[in-house]
Symmetry: C2
Subunit: 755 residues, 2 copies
């Protein structure tokens, strides 16, 4: 055995120094922590402290031979590393000291170092040649507590809802023919309606509890069962029912809302047309008022002007049809009209033509169809007339005089649906992550030639890096979407332009995130992920279209950017640029301070983990992009370019701004939420998740921050290292993190995710 050259008193420090120097992450603030504890350790002499301090110099790292000697010391002691110890490294150190008959009291200073540096067995258990008592999962955190935090005030509703999903009717199965699949989904929707869930967002008079926020939460949970159920549910109660609730008046509510909430009246939401996907204002269907008969005549003018992709089209008795309302020869703009489409025997009514859209990549349990109207007359009262009505004298009236504003007000009432789609996307991502993580904690692959057992997939750094930031982001988006719905439902804030802009950005970001996540999970599960039985495949097909419906993501980001650019003064959804241009002429000043090189090269953990840094970075990016964008547009306009063309030329810049804004918003919302959590380990965990998400986002846009000089080269590299480090730190808790989403056991049917 190698002779130990130093005082036996310093021996307990050896494993710590070995761990500290094995990576190159020792920062100033960490050295300070160690130094402070060294100074306070009474078991050490002045000379011991001097020696140990000498090993803390970053410009003079210990020699390799010294380093190897440390390792041998640990090795020769034959101690065991027990990951479940409260302070595993301190305990290992203590056991080693016992072996060498050194000071074997539990060392409070070492414990402090272990805590404050966040040293985790994961970082170092492979560094020693000692036996490791390994944990697949740590029980330091409690999944139930996390779930409770996430559910917040919705706990009662969600717990009840999850219990209902336990019914065998919701058991996962394969449905290959759309007709049979649709029947199952319809039955599921009716089952939920029978138990009052369809009407949740409606007023109490109509069987509900006015709980739009809880309604959105249910979307996540329905995705654990099936995407088709989620969307069909949303079409019936949110789109069809929502249009009656929000665009209709009391006569409509009284007549239809009860039956709609109970799924006794099935309806569809006929807005999109084949020729006009994203441009709702340009739809061609007309609803012409005929004063003599006191009827509205709904009509599809051209063969390609049909309603397209209408969910519930094959099951519906009624459609909420968006059409150009023409009264006395004047087009009053887009309005919604209730049009019966089938009789009691489910036969199409005269003038109605409906065709099945056929098979799709996913969501084949949803009956999407095309609808044509040929001069279909309905009574005047079928106009959903909250924002615009036809009076008894046959004249049109609206309290909102400006037709643009009227249109955007009507559309604004539907923004809740966008939050639900994002929420559903998030549910899909959670489900896929839960399957992939549980598989990775079971599946072993490869090994070195020495060990008998192959490593768990989850212990591969690459696997940690591909899944862990996605898990963290799910937490951030969960909190953010909850808050969005709260703001959207807040009647004390009647001007919804800000929240509409925010939802536009977030819906895009979250649905893209969901798609990327599901894809990453599919690949992380290898060939097994490709089998339908393991659930990820269906999620991939179902969630795909979330990037397109309820607003194409690219179009939404352009709208979000325009909102930001106009300081949220622009009418949302407007295709005009005048309000933006007006603002540009007044408010172009870049108030951003120049970035101090000290700041742009600050790499220590305390700084990189500080939410202030993240917020500053995101804020800087949004503001800088806004300013440069405004400058570009102004220059084009000055040169005489038409505003429409000027906006075309900066389109990619607009998209970037839209994303940047959404990124900032999500992080700030999450960060504000965490600040309200009671102090304790759960709060720290959420802080860590926020940090990982933030650094991962900054890393994704590192080229931009570098171009701007906001971060220097070393900082950029340090951020990458920290992202990988955080993934490793969260490794022991990854199963608890996915369990924290409360996915009902009955939904975790994937064979690869079972123990």
């Amino acid at each position: 055995m190698k002779k130990f050259d130093y005082s036996l008193r310093i021996l307990p420090y050896i494993p710590f120094f070995y761990v500290i120097w094995s990576d190159d992450l020792l920062s100033t603030s960490e050295i300070t922590v160690i130094q402070k504890n060294l100074d306070e350790d009474d078991s050490l002499t002045k000379d011991d402290k001097k020696l140990l301090s000498a090993w803390l110099k970053r410009d003079k790292p210990p020699a390799d031979s010294e380093f190897k000697g440390w390792k041998l010391l640990v090795h020769n002691s034959g101690v065991k590393l027990i990951e479940s110890d409260t302070y595993p490294l301190t305990a290992l150190s203590q056991r080693m000291a016992t072996y060498y008959k050194s000071n074997d009291a539990f060392n409070e200073q070492l414990k402090q170092i272990e805590i404050n540096l966040g040293i985790q067995p994961n970082h170092y258990n492979h560094l020693f040649d000692v036996e490791v008592e390994h944990e697949t999962t740590s029980d330091y955190y409690d999944a139930k507590e996390i779930d409770t935090t996430l559910k917040g005030k919705h706990a009662k509703l969600i717990d009840g809802f999850r219990a209902v999903l336990n019914d065998p009717l919701f058991d996962w199965d394969i449905h290959r023919t759309k007709e049979a699949f649709r029947e199952v989904v319809l039955e599921q929707v009716k089952f939920l309606a029978d138990r009052g869930y369809g009407a949740i967002a409606y007023p109490e008079t109509y069987g509900g509890t006015n709980d739009m926020e809880g309604y959105a939460y249910m979307f996540e949970n329905m995705m654990f069962v099936d995407g088709s159920l989620t969307i069909k549910f949303g079409v019936q109660f949110g789109l069809f029912g929502g249009s009656i609730q929000k665009l209709g008046t009391q006569k409509h509510h009284d007549r239809y809302l009860n039956a709609t909430g109970k799924a006794e009246l099935l309806g569809c939401f006929a807005m999109t047309e084949t020729g006009h996907g994203s441009n709702v204002r340009g739809i061609k269907t007309t609803a012409t008022y005929n004063k003599e008969t006191d009827q509205l005549v709904v009509h599809t003018p051209g063969n390609n002007d049909n309603k397209e992709y209408i969910g519930n089209a094959l099951h519906s008795k009624m459609a909420s049809v968006f059409a150009q309302l023409i009264v006395n020869g004047k087009n009053e703009g887009v309005h919604a009209i209730l049009v019966p489409v089938r009789d009691e025997n489910h036969q199409l009514l005269p003038g109605i033509k409906i065709e099945d859209n056929g098979y799709k990549l996913g969501l084949n349990g949803v009956d999407n169809g095309k609808i044509w109207f040929h001069q279909v007359a309905v009574p005047r009262e079928n106009l959903l007339n909250k924002y615009g009505t036809i009076k008894d004298d046959g004249s049109y009236h609206s309290d909102i005089k400006n037709p643009n504003k009227r249109f955007f007000t009507m559309l604004g009432t539907l923004v809740g649906g966008r939050i639900c789609v994002a929420r559903a996307g998030l549910g899909g991502a959670k489900m896929a992550l839960a399957v992939a993580v549980k598989h990775a904690l079971k599946r072993r692959q490869f090994n070195d030639s020495i060990k008998i057992q192959e490593d768990l997939l989850m212990d591969y750094p690459m696997h940690q890096l591909r899944l862990t930031p996605l898990v963290a982001s799910a937490y951030v988006y969960h909190i953010t979407l909850d808050k969005m719905m709260q703001d959207y439902c807040d009647d004390s804030q009647p001007d919804k332009r800000v929240v509409e802009t925010q939802v536009a950005g977030l819906k895009s970001m979250v649905t893209w995130y969901a798609n990327e996540t599901i894809q990453e999970c599919r690949e992380a599960c290898g060939g097994k992920g490709y089998l339908l039985e393991n659930r990820i495949a269906d999620l991939k097909g179902d969630v795909d279209i979330f990037t397109t419906f309820e607003g194409d993501n690219t179009v939404l980001l352009l709208l979000a950017a325009k909102g930001v650019l106009s300081d949220f003064k622009a009418e949302f959804n407007s295709s005009g640029f005048s309000s933006v241009l007006k603002l540009l002429s007044t408010q172009l000043s870049d108030k951003l301070a120049t970035i101090n090189p000290m700041y742009s090269n600050k790499v220590d953990a305390a700084h990189l983990y500080n939410p202030k840094f993240h917020k500053h970075a995101f804020d800087y990016r949004t503001r800088r992009l806004t300013y440069t964008l405004a400058m570009r547009i102004r220059d084009y306009i000055k040169k005489g370019m038409p505003s429409y063309q000027a906006f075309m030329k900066v389109q990619t810049h607009l998209i970037t701004l839209g994303k940047a804004y959404a990124t900032e918003l999500a992080y700030n919302t999450f960060s504000d939420f965490v600040a309200t959590m009671p102090d304790g380990k759960n709060k720290e965990l959420f802080e860590k998740l926020g940090t990982l998400h933030a650094l991962h986002e900054i890393r994704s846009d590192a080229h931009w921050y570098l171009e701007q000089g906001y971060i220097g080269n070393s900082k950029s590299k340090a951020i990458r290292s920290r992202v990988e480090r955080l993934c490793t730190e969260l490794r022991p808790h990854i199963e608890v993190l996915v369990d924290g989403w409360g996915i009902p056991e009955s939904c975790m049917s994937a064979p690869i995710a079972k123990k």
Copy 2:
């Protein structure tokens, strides 16, 4: 009308200066071009030239008022912009001069400027308020010529093959039940086999033409029909047949190869096991030689040691089974054995159990299954014994003494399949791009409030940016994969370690590219892209698994990186690190020159478009990553860390290196190919595609190049601008570019892609 303040002689230059100054891309080299032509223009006086030269100062741009005056001049002349003119801007300028009674001769200098600056109507047609005669597609290039270039020496085979695909048997249709789908696909495979395509890669004696390169090309074309056909075809002729051809000896060829090529003997390739996806060396199935009966007994030891995901398993009569060969109690490593699995009545033979893998995300026309063997005895001669045999005396013999090397030699013969998978992925990407581009040239969406007609999707900058670089990359990968197969088939190069490394990297890169492309196309087609009838949905489901089978992409990238790190000396596929470590100790020297700030901030077009710059950037990245990686590993080893752990710690770095290497390889291969093309417009087009691909790649890794100081901030921004610019320049030719892939008319069945 505004008075014209300048000499009428300079009037023809006005539209040019207007266009030049409308963007901020004027670089030194472009100024030189203009200046030179000004100097040479005899129609100008000295004073005229002085005035025009004054307008070329980048630090003193013309005033906005001047700029607006120019625009008004063009506008007031009432001329038309005709995009189909050979030199549209010069022609516009000439017409304007005629109107103002200025010098209206065709100006040779202006033509030179137009050509040399690459000024295209797309850049400026929206800048003038004049009537534009717009072309949806330019006919400057000829799709047939492009197709001919791409087909190269395979033209005859491919033309014939495409004609065969015209048979109604290959018409696209929806197949929801796997059983029916599999029957159709089997019939298609047999149809192709009947016409000799199954045996193409086999020797002439067995019905083939020894044309492995042509065989790979067919994979792209089969994807235009259907992914299941492609994969089933590959399993039957490439994997099953290929194992007989490459691992067997003449007796096997004589007995089985003919029938295999004709699809009279259907077989499967039973390598992967449930418990061992990527780690082939760890498979558990055994083949034990029984000397008394002179038989090999094939056996699945544990319930989870079954063969998994075996394509063609339900249709096969025979399996090529990979198993640990045990002779005289000694494990000689993995070998392949032919095992009959069904009798003439298609009944399973004793000891064989086969289960359907069930429904998958895609490829449901391929019958994947699980196979268990219970003490199945086959004659000794069923051992595919090219690399290891059992002699008549019952002893094992191999010419390759080293068992590792033997194993890797056997696996190496299967690398051709990886190229075919990449090729199939590329075919899927091409198909999706063709559909998305054709849709974008038909579909209109939004408009300004003035124009009646909405803009074509393809005219949106964001749409150009999302599709055009992907189109360019398809060209790069096409050429690269062609070359890879050529190298792989080159018998004058017996050491395949380099090409194996290259294929590993490229297979990963191309299959990921294919998935991203298909997703981008799906979203670019909106809801229509989600319908099965438009083909993208199936491609998405089918191509997904290409990232996993024939080698998981992540695992392959790790292998590729190890190859690069060991200077291609490591045994490919080896899990050991000794050869890498040996090399690390000798060759660690960073010969990379420091980057000159002049270079890292060079932003003019001539430099950014120069292949030398691209090659230098890619080479720098690969070498730098190799060096830093080697340094990290060496440091870990020096500190005493076991090599397996050291490699774990640098896993993400390895992946980055693997990608960087593949990126460099693809570009260099393409660039070398373009250099051999005859001078002319097609060569220029290919050069432009290469440039767009290269700049797009550099842009994707901009954070890294910035971190290294390889590119400065302004260069990074200039690259982004150039990428967008190139997309715009290629806009008029985008349809020709997708038509250049020669997708048979009969395969372009997507309704949204039809005129």
